[in-house]
């Protein structure tokens, strides 16, 4: 066997440097690397540039003071309201935001994974996403430690010279210093298997310089290689692997567990103010033994109720699921 990449969460998160341009896998409250985000808050990471979306795990970084700039397309916790820390800091003007579209993010990451500088599309034509007065890209770049990760300009408009599609937008590649994904299964050498939506993970992991995977289960590499067609990220793109059961709680992980609604509601209410977030963080983040203490505090009976019921991948409402 080649070298195992399995390390502790603390060791893995040491790979993230202040000022990194960072992307967290999953979306909204699904398969978010929450435990990894909490460890970044514990390690007091600073001046991160958040790319992609700002929901559950990302919003914890924003509340924890790790993020100073955001470029992305979504700042909500879905049914639980606008991401409370992002909302508060955006409305106070204490975080730099730069809007892009959902397809911009898709093709920007596609360009980065393909190693091409840009892709042309009509993505945000006609909208205020292209409003020069709201273009904060240069302010975002001021925060980034590696300014070369960000494009020189937000977009260029031109007439489609090939198929006469009218005005198209050149969307620059979205390059990343670091990507952290939480997945159902990883091999010891980093091969990743995802159930449910792949979100952007299969692009972002190939677009990033440093990749950390936290997994519900770490299995022998030989086992996950028995069916390579089912794998979503190759070991060759992954730097470090952490075994982290319940690593996306209070969000959901398909085929593993469902959302912890009460916890998500409590988060939304607690984090309306910075003092509220700080108090919440004292209880859930600043524990002596990190994620282990977090899980023990939640308790086995609470977690068992969240376990997915086959064949569904979640807990059906008839079995007491999400209400």
């Amino acid at each position: 066997m080649k070298k195992s990449k399995v390390v502790s969460l603390r060791e893995a998160i040491r790979l993230i440097d202040d000022g990194d341009t960072i992307f967290l896998g999953g979306i909204v409250e699904d398969r978010r690397p929450v435990a990894a985000a909490m460890e970044m808050v514990r390690q007091r990471k600073k001046n991160l540039v958040l790319l992609g979306t700002c929901s559950l795990s990302d919003d914890i970084l924003v509340g924890g003071g790790c993020v100073e700039a955001y470029r992305g397309c979504y700042t909500s916790n879905g049914a639980f309201g606008i991401s409370p820390n992002m909302k508060r800091r955006a409305e106070a003007g204490t975080i730099i935001t730069d809007e892009i579209g959902h397809l911009d993010l898709s093709i920007g990451l596609l360009a980065a994974m393909a190693g091409v500088p840009f892709i042309a599309s009509k993505t945000c034509i006609g909208s205020d996403v292209l409003n020069p007065a709201y273009d904060n890209l240069s302010r975002v770049a001021e925060v980034a430690a590696h300014k070369e990760m960000l494009p020189n300009q937000k977009y260029v408009l031109m007439e489609d010279p090939f198929f006469n599609m009218g005005t198209v937008q050149l969307v620059p590649a979205i390059k990343l210093d670091a990507c952290i994904c939480h997945v159902q299964m990883a091999g010891e050498e980093g091969t990743v298997r995802i159930d449910g939506s792949l979100t952007f993970d299969h692009y972002a992991a190939l677009a990033a310089e440093k990749v950390i995977v936290t997994a519900e289960k770490v299995v022998p590499e030989s086992y996950i290689r028995q069916d390579p067609n089912r794998n979503c990220i190759p070991s060759t793109s992954v730097d470090l692997v952490v075994e982290l059961p319940w690593g996306a709680h209070p969000g959901q992980v398909y085929n593993a567990y469902d959302m912890d609604i009460a916890f998500l509601q409590e988060y939304a209410m607690s984090c309306a103010s910075q003092e509220g977030f700080d108090k919440w963080a004292e209880v859930w983040i600043f524990n002596e033994n990190g994620h282990e203490d977090y899980i023990n505090k939640l308790g086995a009976s609470r977690l068992e109720k969240l376990r997915a019921r086959p064949p569904y991948g979640y807990v059906p409402r008839s079995k007491g699921g999400v209400q």
Partner: protein
Amino acid sequence: MANKYAKPGEYSPVEAMVAHSARFLKNFDGKKGLIGTGLPLVASQLAKKIYSPNMIIFVETGQADANPQELAISIMDSRLTYGSSWQMGDPEGLFPLSRNEIDFGFIGGAQIDKYGNVNSTFIGGDYNKPAKRLAGTAGAVDIGVFAKTTVILMAHQKRRVCELVDYLTTPGWMVRKWPEGTLVRREELGMQGGPSCFISSMGILKFDDTTKIMYLDQYFPGVAPEDVKANTGFDIDVSRATEAEPVLFDEIRLLREEIDPLNIYKMR
């Protein structure tokens, strides 16, 4: 048959909005729709049960032909995965839009203007210090740009239905041409589509064929055209409006008993 209709007061304005949206989706039976988060998910479930059983649902988190067994609470709920034909990621969920495969997009929002532009980014103040920060673009901009048409659903309030949106997230009929930012017709930028219908909690609103300005097409029973005028932020034309067919008991029963028995979406 007289008793198949429910009377105002026997349902909420939000339930009426969702029921009428589901009815409008009759136009898309057998068609492909990209369905946005929130009440569009609820209305599309109701539509599949009675009006458009062969409607094909795509979701921006990568589900093709999603057939959820129970109501999803967000756009990437595990409930959308189980039963779908194909589950990939967000890029594969959005590429059907850009390759021109999506017949209609169905979205909510926080603000809509007389040209059918929708705002889901911020309200009030400045972009860099908004009075109210919202969810942002997500799929809303992409649906507005690429879908062959869009259907919009939103509660009808004076501050929401306005002259011009604070931030143009989803392009409607008159959109911004950059770098100047002048309002131009979407065709001028080579964009197809455009909103076909805005279903509010008071009625059904459409867009004039010539001016592309919103007008009241139908008002719900219990709502007067003057009420719509009073709750709209611009001088809306109500001269063409007729009363909508009342809400069916059957629609309300399905919403309450089968689709959202736990009132997750707080429709009542």
